[in-house]
């Protein structure tokens, strides 16, 4: 599972490219960076240049990466289709080569086409961090979800290392629109390799049987209550109304069957940790009360996101930090 030689070291294109040891190293680095003073941290990537190339808007992920880069002292350039700084009709390859010529040493890419980060990494030879590609993956999200889980379940020290059995005995239920979710894919391909049991939950149209191929040992449970009863971690995914309509799924039926509300949580999973990658729609896939409850770690996810992405940037730019 090592990253093939055709991609620059430090790239993170798919969670599958990381060995368990790589994941552990990233967590250790994250932990080390978190203990540093702001001044100390700001010296690590001083003078280094990072480009953020965003073909899709994403306040959360973009801001997280941007703040992470800045906190490490790096300069960032944002190129997004919103600011129309992406040349009309220019290929991803040429945009990447232009950024490289302008001095970018790593590119963080968000793109609506699955696999786009692979193209960019191949054509530029630069380390590329996948900040979400189509329906494919969102590997930094899976890593921050992992750190959030570990911190809650095992404490700060427990979030410093992982091995193949760290999550033994932990069942993670991922519920919602699995088909279109890059977060679900990255998590489902990471967590079982650390010993977790992963149950995917949702209606057939949003969760086809093919999902079982993501990783050995993944299970599908269509009944949300049954799934929740087994959960130590309940990860909810955003549901888009338009998507339900397109698939002829009734919104009210969906809410009745799959919304994580306080009653369901109390009855089926009173101890479970609640996660959501955001942006969440209160009242749809999750009840506001649940999102704000002590069982929810949704805000912590955001904080861990900043920390993990800092580590990924340090790794991408090949900077060694003693951990």
């Amino acid at each position: 599972m090592t990253l093939r030689a055709r991609y620059a070291a430090g790239s993170l294109l798919s969670i599958r490219d990381l060995s368990v040891e790589d994941v552990s190293n990233i967590l250790s680095l994250t932990a080390r960076l978190s203990t540093m003073s702001a001044t100390e941290r700001a010296a690590i990537l001083t003078g280094r240049r990072v480009a953020l190339l965003f073909y899709e808007s994403s306040t959360r992920t973009r801001t997280s990466f941007e703040l992470a880069a800045k906190s490490l002292g790096a300069t960032t350039t944002l190129v997004s289709d919103k600011s129309s700084s992406i040349e009309k009709g220019e290929s991803l390859k040429d945009t990447g080569l232009t950024l490289r010529a302008l001095g970018a040493e790593a590119i963080i890419l968000r793109h609506s086409n699955s696999g786009a980060p692979f193209v960019l990494a191949r054509e530029t030879g630069l380390p590329v961090l996948n900040a979400g590609d189509g329906m494919h993956e969102h590997p930094s999200q899976a890593l921050l979800d992992l750190r959030t889980m570990l911190t809650r379940l095992k404490g700060t020290d427990g979030a410093k290392h992982v091995d193949a059995s760290t999550l033994k005995g932990v069942t993670v239920v991922i519920t919602g629109d699995i088909l279109h979710s890059r977060v679900a894919r990255s998590n489902a391909m990471l967590l079982p390799r650390l010993g977790a049991r992963v149950i995917l939950c949702g209606p057939e149209k949003l969760l086809p049987e093919e999902a079982l191929g993501l990783n050995a040992g993944i299970e599908i449970e269509r009944n949300f209550d049954k799934a929740l009863q087994q959960a130590q971690v309940a990860m909810m995914l955003r549901i888009q109304r338009e998507r339900l309509a397109g698939l002829e799924l009734d919104l009210n039926d969906y809410i009745a069957s799959y919304q994580l509300n306080s009653e369901r949580l109390k009855t089926s999973a009173p101890q479970a940790l609640v996660l959501h990658p955001g942006p969440m729609i209160r009242g749809l896939e999750i009840e506001g009360e649940v999102a704000d409850s002590p069982q929810s770690a949704i805000e912590e996810q955001v904080a861990h996101g900043l920390a993990v992405r800092s580590a990924l940037l340090v790794r991408a730019l090949g900077k060694s930090v003693t951990v």
Partner: protein, 434 residues
């Protein structure tokens, strides 16, 4: 044309049941004699080729190539595409009509077949079945047939509407040529870029289902049955690039029923599965897509048991900049003329034990029969001297950088091949030496 003698080879001519040591004499571009070794030794020929250790076979025929001219000559021209064909052992190719503009009139067909295009091998064409391949109005089958059309197809797209396909089959039956169908129910494949299944799910790509291919094949077979029953005609349906076990099973049943159905299988579909896409390798993107192992195995089985009539490449060149894109944006298709024989011999002969004679038949006599290419596909006396010489035992690796095609979009760069083409002779002229 001066005489050419090919001596000491192992001559394999499936149509005539020959597999043995024979010498071959070519005169005026035609086969003048096939004799036991020594019988032709007193003939003084202008050129003699010593084929010791080589197979001498009818030149290969590809019923499905995209030569991109007119309109997309940055991808390929008739001259470069047919040069690649010659290098692959082909002496005849049939150009698909999805050029720019679409080949749908006599004038366009004649332009394409004109000697000024400098085709290296014998060029045939299947013009569009419908004007502009828009699937609405049939082209003038009779006039196009008279101008040399060997069949009709809207390849790249299916003839989708039932009544249009029915009319096309009827008109083609009257013109005594096949309708070559790209079997894809495009109502089911919008936004899809690969095979539906676990690999597509993992890669986050929308997949084309088996059903999308099978539904058109099954519909077309039903139309054949109806036309035979009601019109007293016997239309010939040729199914292009079959990729799924289910569609092949429908073809097998239709053949058993006695309907006139033929089909082709492409080398990539009997060699690779959708796993070859790896990390979004656009050189493994084509339509129909690479399928799962069970489908690949079914394509092999169909070639072994004769359900698949022939091998065709679907040679589809694209420029590097078009393939260096996001997977979903990159165009479908791969080149195939230079790798077809090498893969057929490696996979079907060495791995599956299919005889050389059967493989040669799948690549010469059978395609000639499907497209009604008179005087081609065998080394019968008086036939065109279309001949390929290859070293059946030589192992080599394909190097896309050395292609004679204008494009290099192949998943087989560096792949192992069996059987090196030593010479390709088209109508008595040596058009390639390897």
């Amino acid at each position: 044309m001066s005489d050419l003698l090919i001596l000491n080879g192992r001559l394999i001519d499936p149509a005539n049941g020959i597999d043995g040591e024979r010498d071959l004499l070519v005169r005026d571009g035609r086969v003048a004699a096939v004799e036991a070794p020594g019988a032709l030794k007193n003939i003084a020929a202008a050129e003699t080729i010593d084929a010791t250790g080589q197979v001498v076979a009818p030149g290969l025929i590809d019923v499905h190539v995209h030569l991109r001219e007119p309109g997309q000559t940055y991808k390929e021209t008739i001259a470069t595409g047919t040069a690649a064909a010659a290098a692959g052992g082909f002496t005849s190719v049939i150009a698909m009509p999805n050029t720019v503009p679409v080949n749908d009139t006599v004038a366009k067909l004649e332009w394409m077949l004109d000697a000024a295009r400098r085709s290296a091998v014998k060029l045939f064409a299947m013009p569009a079945a419908t004007l502009g391949s828009m699937g609405v109005t049939l082209t003038d089958f009779e006039a196009l047939r008279a101008a040399g059309a060997v069949g009709f197809t809207d390849d790249g797209k299916p003839v989708l509407e039932d009544h249009v396909m029915r009319a096309a089959l009827v008109a083609a039956a009257r013109a005594e040529v096949p309708i070559s169908q790209h079997a894809e129910d495009t109502r089911l494949t919008g936004g899809c870029s690969m095979n539906a299944g676990q690999v597509a799910f993992r890669l986050g790509l929308r997949g084309m289902t088996v059903e999308a291919e099978a539904r058109i094949v099954e519909r077309d077979i039903r139309l054949l049955r109806e036309i035979e029953a009601t019109e007293g005609l016997r239309p010939h349906l040729h199914v292009q690039h079959v990729s799924t076990a289910r569609a092949m099973e429908a073809i097998r049943a239709a053949k058993r029923e006695g309907l006139h159905v033929t089909c082709e299988v492409a080398p990539h579909h009997f060699t690779l599965t959708d796993e070859a896409i790896g990390d979004y390798d656009t050189h493994a993107k084509m339509n129909p897509p690479l399928r799962v192992e069970a489908d690949r195995a079914a394509m092999v089985a169909s070639l072994l048991d004769g359900t698949a009539d022939c091998i065709a490449t679907d040679h589809a060149p694209h420029a590097a900049h078009e393939k260096e894109q996001e997977f979903e944006r990159a165009p479908n298709g791969i080149t195939g003329l230079e790798t077809s024989l090498g893969l057929a011999l490696r996979v079907l002969h060495r791995e599956q034990g299919l005889s050389l004679s059967r493989i040669i038949a799948l690549m010469s006599a059978a395609p000639a029969a499907i497209a009604g290419l008179a005087g081609r596909g065998s080394l019968s006396m008086g036939h065109f001297a279309d001949v390929v010489l290859f070293d059946a035992g030589s192992e080599w690796r394909y190097d896309a950088a050395k292609t004679l095609s204008r494009s290099r979009n192949t998943p087989f760069d560096g792949a192992e091949m069996l059987g090196k083409v030593r010479a390709t002779i088209c109508e008595g002229r040596v058009v390639y030496r390897g």
